[in-house]
């Protein structure tokens, strides 16, 4: 484990000796990882190396088989499923490779429904959804339904949904995997912007250029973190 990157209180994500097994398959085999508040981290590695599993651990979508996960100051092991749900609703936003937008529902309501579990009323949800859509540059497309939007626009709607609740942590699993280069860089620029505005961002990517641009790269292989590089520093 690396220390000295900042006090533990500064870290929004702390993984210590995290193992995740699916039956006999070990997807993660003892991962230590600290992500400081406000950081932007690119997670890279070959297919099947455990990147998505790692992101699920960070996002509290699943519990580790062994090891400790702390997110936003909460030890996941000590939380009930209800508390984990509340943690996700309050602190974490997800963006997936498939956009997971509800068909036949306007962009505005797709984003607004993402706030359903935050406890806001419908009017408040729509207001915040409109603001989020404006942030991703789709203010004018609020009334459009997913099939009327391009792939890049759909993913931007999904990003708006993820950030509308003002999460501390934004997790993206190959957000550009289904997009062409131009649309992909639009979405990445958006994530970059959110990072600059203070959101902690962790993004899984296969795109080496994208990874190279990130201030920090975590390299995963066979369920282990094999490299943790920062811009301007040389990896071990």
């Amino acid at each position: 484990m690396r220390f000295g990157d900042g006090a533990a209180g500064d870290a929004i994500v702390e993984l210590a000796a995290v193992t995740k097994k699916y039956g006999s398959v070990a997807a993660l085999r003892g991962v230590d990882l600290l992500i400081g508040t406000g950081e932007m981290v690119a997670i890279v590695g070959p297919s099947g190396s455990g990147k998505s599993t790692l992101l699920h651990m960070i996002g509290t979508l699943d519990r580790p088989t062994a090891g400790r996960v702390r997110v936003a100051g909460h030890d996941v092991a000590g939380l009930s499923d209800r508390e984990l749900s509340a943690l996700r609703a309050r602190h974490i936003g997800f963006v997936f490779q498939q956009f997971h937008l509800a068909p036949g529902v306007s962009a505005l309501d797709n984003v607004a429904d993402g706030l359903l579990y935050s406890g806001a009323g419908l009017k408040e949800r729509r207001k915040r959804a409109r603001e989020a859509l404006e942030r991703v540059g789709l203010g004018g497309r609020a009334g459009h339904r997913p099939h009327q939007l391009s792939g890049g626009e759909q993913q931007r709607v999904a990003v708006a949904r993820a950030v509308a609740g003002g999460p501390d942590l934004l997790l993206a699993d190959e957000p550009t995997g289904n997009l062409d280069t131009a649309a992909g860089s639009g979405v990445l620029a958006l994530l970059d912007e959110l990072h600059r505005a203070g959101t902690t961002v962790a993004i899984i990517t296969h795109d080496l250029d994208v990874a190279a641009r990130a201030p920090r790269r975590v390299r995963v292989r066979d369920g282990l973190v094999v490299a943790d590089e920062r811009a301007g520093a040389v990896g071990r």
């Binding site: 699920h56 996002g59 979508l61 699943d62 909460h74 000590g78 939380l79 499923d81 209800r82 508390e83 984990l84 749900s85 509340a86 943690l87 996700r88 609703a89 309050r90 974490i92 997800f94 997936f96 498939q98 997971h100 509800a102 068909p103 036949g104 529902v105 429904d113 993402g114 359903l116 579990y117 935050s118 406890g119 009323g121 419908l122 949904r161």
Partner: protein, 396 residues
């Protein structure tokens, strides 16, 4: 304490999530709601129709009264047909609370449209002698022409019961019919006598005329008697003895309204079978809803995963699918109740019944659909809630 408490969804938001799935697949939702609707409509209509029919019978009973008694000859000790004394109607009239007495006496003759028709052809029509006050006692009247009076009861004239007239092809008074080897003028045609359907199938002749032209022996075969409502039972107790003081055991006393009352009671019982049929249809509808819900959960695993990633608790996912199932079956139930009520109204109108739908029928229908929605939705909802978020998200 972690201080992490999931937000509660208000009722409106629960309905919103429940509607989400139905809105994306309206045709499927409509079809599975239709299954419930058919079951509910059947049950509501069965209840409505039998209630309307019963109400109609009870109203008729009210109108016709329950104070009419009949006395007929039974059989003698030796099994022969008994005979009522000729004086019987007069004796009955002397019972204190009796307000009206009428009598008919069977005549051994057949009535035919013309003299060309063979004498054996009865067409199920009985030729009977009738006392003048029969009509008033039965509480019916003539549809055409006149009832027997002091003058016409001596002449070869007939008053036809409604069914008898129809079978003889007589529309109105004025024509003639052939009986006992001679022509009889049709004096009148009666309206249906609901408490005495045997009169409908009779051709009635005056007492004297029957004796003179048709060989009638003068013995009454049915005595109709009305009394005050309060004394019906008292009169019933003494009627047989009054009619035939020497052989009261040979007299059969009956209350014609009892048949109507029994019919009214039966209207409810008969509905039981059809109700069972409706329940089966409803059950099939419920299975349809359950099927739709199972498929819906399977198809929407990624949505479930997404909602979990957005912070939905297991309980909220369960509630969402339960709400969807309830909305599905309740909308089917509501449509079915309306349809059932409409069928009741239409059927009652066609039959001339007062449309009656007891309030417990739609209330019960609502209860049944809520129960069905819960039962049908519970298993899929629980399965949806148990899905691990990561597995749900990875679903194709």
């Amino acid at each position: 304490m972690s201080g992490l408490v999931p937000a509660r969804l208000g009722p409106r938001d629960v309905v919103r999530t429940g509607l989400a799935g139905l809105r994306t697949r309206p045709a499927r939702a409509a079809l599975s709601a239709l299954g419930v609707a058919i079951g509910i409509a059947t049950m509501v209509a069965v209840i409505g129709i039998s209630s309307s029919s019963k109400e109609d019978l009870l109203r008729r009973l009210d109108r016709l009264g329950t104070n009419l008694l009949t006395a007929k000859p039974g059989s003698t000790l030796f099994g022969d047909q008994a005979e009522l004394p000729e004086t019987a109607p007069e004796m009955v009239r002397r019972i204190g609370p009796v307000t009206g007495v009428g009598a008919t006496g069977e005549v051994d003759a057949t009535v035919r449209r013309t003299d060309r028709i063979p004498v054996e052809v009865t067409q199920g029509i009985a030729v009977q002698a009738a006392s003048p006050d029969l009509l008033a006692t039965l509480g019916t009247g003539t549809a055409s022409g006149r009832w027997l009076n002091a003058a016409t009861e001596r002449y070869p004239g007939m008053v036809l019961g409604s069914e008898a007239a129809r079978r003889l092809g007589v529309d109105a008074a004025g024509g003639r019919v052939f009986a006992g080897g001679r022509w009889f003028v049709v004096l009148g045609v009666l309206r249906p006598a609901e408490l005495a359907p045997e009169i409908d199938r009779s051709a009635l002749v005056g007492w004297d005329a029957a004796e003179r032209y048709l060989g009638f022996d003068g013995h009454p075969t049915t005595i109709y008697e009305r009394s005050t409502d309060a004394s019906v039972n008292d009169v019933r107790d003494v009627l047989a003895r009054t009619v035939s003081p020497e052989h009261p055991e040979e007299v059969e006393v009956a209350r014609p309204s009892d048949a109507l009352r029994a019919k009214a009671e039966a209207a409810g019982a008969f509905a039981g079978l059809l109700l069972g049929l409706g329940a089966v249809a409803l059950l099939v509808g419920g299975v349809g809803v359950a099927n739709t819900m199972v498929v819906s959960v399977l198809e929407r695993r990624r949505e479930i995963g997404l909602r979990r990633s957005l912070g939905a608790t297991r309980g909220q996912v369960r509630t969402q699918f339960l709400a969807e199932s309830l909305l599905l079956s309740a909308s089917g139930g509501a449509a079915g109740a309306v349809l059932g009520a409409a069928v009741t109204a239409g059927f009652a109108a066609a039959k001339g019944w007062p449309p009656v739908l007891p309030a417990w029928a739609p209330a019960g229908a609502l209860g049944a659909t809520l129960l069905i929605g819960t039962v049908a939705g519970l298993y899929p909802a629980v399965r949806a809630a148990r899905l691990s978020p990561t597995v749900a998200l990875a679903a194709v």
